[in-house]
Subunit: 334 residues, 2 copies
């Protein structure tokens, strides 16, 4: 059996099983959440960001690459409603990289780090043929919010828009007029993590995850870890006007484009959380907040569309499977 | 200017400068030591371990690759005289890797993690053409030992042997009879970190580093960070009989081989530390302990050989420079 036949979800299960026999009493939550949690409230996450896997240099400047990597990693700290403290950077650097590009890369890293008072506190440098950043972020919270804390009866909320990052990526890829896709492109290039929003909302939050793999997969994680049933109301999903514009320009005849963008495209880095409160504000700061579903007793994720309930299978980005290598190739559209 | 022209020491200085403007009050020691240190005594290190850069699959089994990566990373925790708590693993995995090899890899990781009661507490999986492990280790110490704590008048100690790992690597590379190089090969394949030795010795230790880059470079780090002069007594360096054997077999006429192995070859992962005490035991557990030098007022590293004092320039492994790409190519011997 090869890894590509296993697929990512099974692979994670396997790794989790292999790791389970190791133990230290100072760890409260190990593998399985956005961060691990130490007894003293320290939370830790690690994230790889590699050329031609996670980004292409075609439309990412070095500064953007640096910014993006830190945004994505700190989003896991936001997903615990924690405050970031420090990041550690393993940088894979081609030896013929120009010094000025390295300075740009670190300028991007610094911009986001400073925005969240996060210290670049260490790292490792490796001469490698392709550029890559592997980041570890460390934060702290008195009561970190977990994926496993959704309770039956909770309401499910989402910040921002679903499918906005993939909208931006496709607009860039197909060289659509950039000024028509300003919001989407900005979210794709620099997905500012929802740290401050999570800290403001934390008193209302029970279960929490960030949307990095696609809404269907992220809901699956929440439902599985919390052992509840999640119902998603399709008509309530916050879809940005630029996503509708994309459909018009790219696939007028394909109504599934919106559906797939909203439910199965990744890297939005929004907060997806449950709350016992059904009356949260419609915005938090200047970020939209939408109630998109409910948690009930039971198992699995279900989509309510045209008043019909249907199972929603996790179809977000899978790093290992062939049949679902990426959202775009799955659609066979582009 | 390209990175290869800068060289690693200058590159580290540049990155340090670029990172210095970021700040969080919970960080006590940032970039520049083996680990970063938080106010609460948490220490953090990150280390990349990549195919064809740090290891070749020719003589490393998957199990060995896993063991080796954890050993090297935990050695940085030993270099703070701290106790490890957890490791986080970003694994770059080719999608056609067989599941059983992944299980072997993790079995190796687990073996060392369990030896030091360290939990595999999180990570990230990426489908990547070449195998790689990027590890972050987190530990704790009441009083972490720093590179900057050597004082003039201190004695300099080294655990184990210098040049032993490179001896093992060369024995494997040139397919010399393995039973003649058992100690060296074992140290090269599985450099068990000196965690327990550091914890036993910590009451005697002032400045501390682990020998990963080669003794000359590691001494340079200690001297620079502590702002002292270090004198190394060449005749006192602990050189293993297998290293002499290697010289006999490979380069009878080249007397510099021993010199270069002892001073400029890396990855021994031994403790190099200073102590005000000139009378430490000759072994700690079953690991040799040798006084190899002294710290004085002044700057720089000097070698005392045949009663003559000469400057010792850092010539250990440089990941970026052309002229000093690796120990072996520098020697032009192999």
């Amino acid at each position: 059996m090869h890894l590509k036949e296993l697929g990512e979800l099974k692979l994670i299960k396997l790794i989790r099983k292999l790791s389970l026999t190791t133990f230290n009493p100072q760890i409260k939550v190990g593998i399985g959440d956005d961060c691990s949690v130490f007894n003293n409230g320290i939370v830790v996450t690690t994230d790889a960001y590699l050329e031609d896997i996670h980004f292409v240099k075609d439309y990412f400047s070095y500064r953007n690459i640096g910014k993006r990597a830190v945004c994505a990693t700190l989003s896991d700290i936001a997903a615990m409603a924690a405050e970031p403290i420090a990041i550690f950077i393993s940088a894979l650097l081609p030896k013929d990289l120009k010094e000025k590009y390295l300075i740009d890369l670190y300028a991007g890293i610094k911009t986001i780090a400073k925005m969240f008072r996060t210290q670049i506190a260490g790292g490792d440098l490796v001469n490698y043929p392709k550029l890559g950043l592997i980041l570890t972020a460390i934060g702290k919270a008195k009561h970190p919010k977990l994926r496993s804390q959704v309770k039956a009866g909770d309401y499910l909320y989402l910040t921002g828009y679903c499918g906005i990052s993939e909208t931006g990526r496709l607009a860039l890829k197909f060289q659509l007029p950039q000024k028509e896709f300003m919001v989407a492109i900005k979210r794709h290039l620099t997905p500012i993590p929802r740290i401050y929003e999570a800290l403001k909302l934390k008193k209302f939050i029970r279960g929490l995850i960030d949307t990095s793999d696609g809404l269907s997969t992220d809901c699956y994680h929440l439902a599985t870890e919390s052992q509840v049933k999640l119902k998603i109301f399709y008509e309530k999903l916050p879809i940005h006007p630029e996503t509708f514009k994309l459909q018009k320009l790219l696939a007028q005849s394909n109504k599934d484009l919106i559906f797939n963008l909203a439910l199965n495209s990744g890297e939005d880095y929004e907060l997806l959380f449950s709350s016992p409160n059904d009356n949260l504000p419609k915005t938090i700061g200047n970020v939209k907040l939408t109630c998109i579903g409910k948690a009930e007793r039971g198992r699995g994720v279900y989509l309510i569309k045209n008043n019909k309930e249907q199972p929603l299978t996790p179809k977000g980005y899978d790093h290992f499977s062939y049949s679902n290598k990426s959202f775009s190739s799955e659609l066979n559209l582009f």
